[in-house]
Symmetry: C2
């Protein structure tokens, strides 16, 4: 491609609405443009990056024997109601009615549709195992789309689904997909981690998230540099012993008499602690949740956060969210901010293990503008259900080896789940086993965020000048920069090298613009082509051109006649 | 791919809801499955066909220097309101509100979005010409989805848009796309015709439809076998002289006195003619339309049909549809079925040229249960606007050479339009010309129905046994059929040939199922792989296999060692 024929609108300034580096650079390098918040147009260079990512995905998926399909984006809601996810997904699911008044939804994922498809077309164990995948646009009504293509309402997902006759089959399919994912992310040049994760709205029991650690990532993971343990922060186990015994300041002291104190308008842990001159860890934080149709209270030491994932999984709740003001008032008789376990009736109470070690603690009094002090678990309230309900912190020991852990922001680029029979049993994806007995297929599902691979690469591979692409997913592998197209020899040599490299099947763009050398260097560095061939009068006097590697900045003078051969040594085909 | 690992659910019976051959065979051959009326899942074989079609499209589009992009499926309605098509498309446009109450629409096409994109990123004539395309899922709320993937609510379209600095540029871009389309359809093996067409909701002035003549096609085109004239039936010119002069039975007779006759409950042309013992061609059919905000009456000879396209274009109306009962009553004072031009006040009247030749004709009396006889144009009513407002018939002369024409059902697979500045001027896609003057870009748009290429091929290439694919878009080029996998030599030879053909880069499937020879032949014929390599004990005794061509049924015994070489002679790579 010649630059003068291409649509590559680079920008000098960051877009005003961009907060993260990938968003800024994708816009500035002319890869994407915003249509509206949460929806982006891919310009030619951006589309080429997506294509290269998709090609790598297809190659690795096909290598594992999985087969590509294409399912509709519009779904009948009945399938989603059958699995209960019509309610669970709630506002994220985009719904509309057609001209005949029939409701349709736009697929944010395809477990329902693929299971229904397999239900109608697979009958015998002989037709299993089966792994089907697609690369397709998904739709989500995001509450707060942000960070460019990282969190958008419309995105490209590679979603795969495995169907097996037994658990051993699922394990084998899961391993195939896990291995394919590792290969895909490696080939895309991503520094990724596979971490243990929650199964969330998918259901099932085993799950891994593929994470790219980066500041802009919205998820936090916990990693142990010593034993390489890595996990989603929400599900990493927190030990029962340790911190609360050694650190709770009021442990093993005399239990003082319970007392109500006035705390007018003071509701947060920090402000209550300040007012009452105690530490946040002396508080028993009490939050009320709606779990399906019930209200539950969850207690945790004031300096910790409740892991909603752990609580939700413990309760096996489909819908789990913070109770609203009305429900809190109904349950406690008080406004938000004054809830506590003492005297709380008719509400199931779950207490994190960290609460056990608190003596003479502080809680809400279930009364407006009042808290209780000298609260002692066991004496003042009876929490029958203790468990691990909190989010791990950087001060906790590694759940695997006991060493020190680190928390890291990261971007989820892939997710794998062992689903079991959650979908197949209710949607009738059953098969006859060797003994002629009907059984539901054992399923797995496997997703990759295609756009997020591009964003994740940029988040982890850029410098002050722009993006640094690996050759595998760069918009072009090579740019031939003619420093001065008005010079006949420069022009002729540039065109020759461009033609030769293209003939040798390198993906090459020729910067034939009548622009200054400075502008050309800036644009190529910004877009981040891995290799630049710089053709200028000075080097041509020696019969040579300059080859620059974007990543290292390394430059080398290469004789014109050797350029194509030289490329074989720096770019694998 | 080995058949036993593949998902190929062939069916013996036609699906009950299928009316046309492509729908029946796509389901039976295991290419597609219905999710709901108007939405189909593509199974692995169907997806492979789509991929091959898309690859051909990309190659030909790229060869013309056009660049691929990817635009969002969800659009802000404001863009559609700016061009006026929010109203024009009406119910076809799928609309919904997001969680914040903001309306979004699903794109049935992308003129608005691409023009807005170019408006923001092109500034100078130096950046033109530009042709951008995408291959993407489109959404339409079809009033009556039918014929499998031929008319569905969700389909894959290749849509391209050209931007030029002047008319000559548009002509050049249009020609590039026209030529690319011819190449694409040829390579896909389609017997297509490029016909002159209406510009319809796109606007603009020149337009061609690419049509595949077939019984199941919903469009009708008119073709002249003599001079090769081909046109959409709706817009083909009907001569003023000729049929009405020579064939109108009551021409040049004495004008009789106007008379009202009772026609209780008789409203159709046929029934009125029967009751009054005249010919349909003696009637002046009068239909009332809503053209934007006005009501107009259109007259045509009773045996002809009004071309709504011609009338709409004549009126330059954005919205043009039959008036409803209420509007008819308001305009004529009578119910539907009794409209006529005599005494019709306050309504613009357009009369087709065929009405000129009618003497002593019959029309509605604008009065319930009454018609007028002996109606003479000029004497009894004054139609100031005569013109060509009817649909051509098989009895009309060729508009080009005057010879005999034929009407043919056909399926639209592509459409090209010269748009001019309709979109660029209102959406601000302007550039500075050589003199520094700001001007709107001159646009063209070009669409291909990807799924329809598959359907159109099957409509025109099948026999009683199934589909007959050309190698270019077949799900696999070759099937290796092992007649009896329990025979070691058959199995070994089949695997060897399969491996060799795959290594030689033929797209090959190996039927390794433990099924009867009959079942295997039936399935391969049904799916329609172009070449079958049949490996059986009998031929193996001579060291040979049988190669069968699906299209001709031709069979040839080929020595095992020569199979790959033989393929080079029958399949082009």
């Amino acid at each position: 491609m010649k630059w003068t024929s291409a649509l590559i609108p680079t920008l000098k300034e960051d877009p005003q609405d961009a907060e993260v580096i990938s968003h800024k650079l994708m816009v500035r390098a002319g890869l994407i443009r915003k249509l509206f918040s949460g929806a982006y147009s891919y310009l030619p260079l951006g589309k080429k990056v997506l294509d290269k990512i998709e090609t790598i995905i297809r190659e690795e998926m096909d290598a594992k024997g999985s087969q590509e399909v294409l399912l509709p984006a519009m779904h009948p809601p009945e399938l989603w109601k059958t699995t209960g996810r019509y309610e669970v997904l709630g506002g994220v699911l985009i719904k509309f009615k057609d001209r005949h008044g029939k409701e349709l939804v736009l697929g944010p994922t395809h477990e329902e549709v693929i299971t229904d498809l397999v239900a109608g077309n697979v009958r015998s164990y002989k037709e299993l195992p089966l792994i089907l995948y697609q690369i397709q646009t998904k739709f989500r009504d995001e509450p707060r789309p942000r960070f460019g293509v990282m969190r958008s309402c419309e995105f490209i997902m590679k979603d795969a689904y495995s169907f097996d006759a037994d658990e051993a089959g699922l394990d084998a399919s899961y391993k195939k997909m896990f291995d394919a994912y590792c290969r895909i992310f490696e080939r895309c040049g991503l520094p990724y981690l596979a971490v243990e994760a929650d199964t969330g709205i998918m259901g099932g029991k085993t799950s891994h998230e593929f994470m790219v650690p980066c500041e802009a990532g919205e998820d936090e993971i916990v990693v142990c540099p010593k034993c390489k343990f890595a996990s989603s922060k929400e599900i990493a186990k927190c030990g029962e012993v340790g911190n609360q015994v050694t650190r709770s300041p009021s442990h093993q002291v005399e239990q003082l008499p319970l007392k109500e104190v006035a705390t007018p308008g003071v509701t947060t842990v920090e402000k209550v602690a300040e007012l009452l001159k105690v530490k946040p860890s002396d508080l028993i934080k009490t939050l009320l949740y709606k779990a399906d149709d019930a209200v539950v209270a969850v207690l945790v030491r004031g300096d910790y956060d409740i892991s909603e994932t752990k609580v939700k999984n413990h309760l096996k709740a489909a819908i789990f969210e913070l109770a609203d003001e009305k429900a809190i008032h109904k349950a406690t008789g008080a406004p938000v901010g004054f809830s506590g376990p003492v005297g709380l009736k008719g509400v199931r109470i779950l207490a994190d293990n960290s609460v056990k070690g608190i003596s003479n603690g502080v809680t809400g009094a279930n009364k407006k503008d009042a808290h209780l002090v000298n609260v002692n678990p066991g004496r003042d309230f009876d929490a029958k259900e203790y468990g691990d309900f909190r989010v791990i912190t950087a001060d906790d020991p590694c759940p695997s080896c006991g060493g020190a852990v680190e928390l890291r922001h990261s971007l989820e680029i892939g997710h794998t789940f062992k689903l079991g029979t959650k979908y197949s049993s209710v949607l009738g994806a059953k098969f006859l086993d060797k003994d002629g007995k009907e059984r539901p297929a054992i399923m797995g599902c496997y997703g990759i965020g295609v756009n997020r691979i591009a964003a994740g690469l940029i988040e982890t591979s850029s410098d002050k000048d722009g993006i640094i692409w690996p050759a595998s997913i760069a918009p072009y592998e090579v740019v031939v920069i003619a420093l001065n197209v008005d010079n006949e020899q420069v022009k002729k040599t540039s065109e020759e090298i461009y033609t030769q490299l293209a003939a040798a099947r390198y993906d090459v763009i020729y910067d034939d613009r009548k622009e200054s050398a400075g502008k050309k260097f800036k644009d190529s560095d910004l877009i981040g082509f891995p290799v630049q061939v710089i053709v200028g009068e000075r080097n041509l006097k020696n019969g040579a051109v300059e080859v620059k590697l974007r990543k290292t900045g390394e430059r080398k003078e290469v004789p014109v006649k050797d350029v194509t051969a030289y490329f074989a040594s720096i770019l694998k085909k």
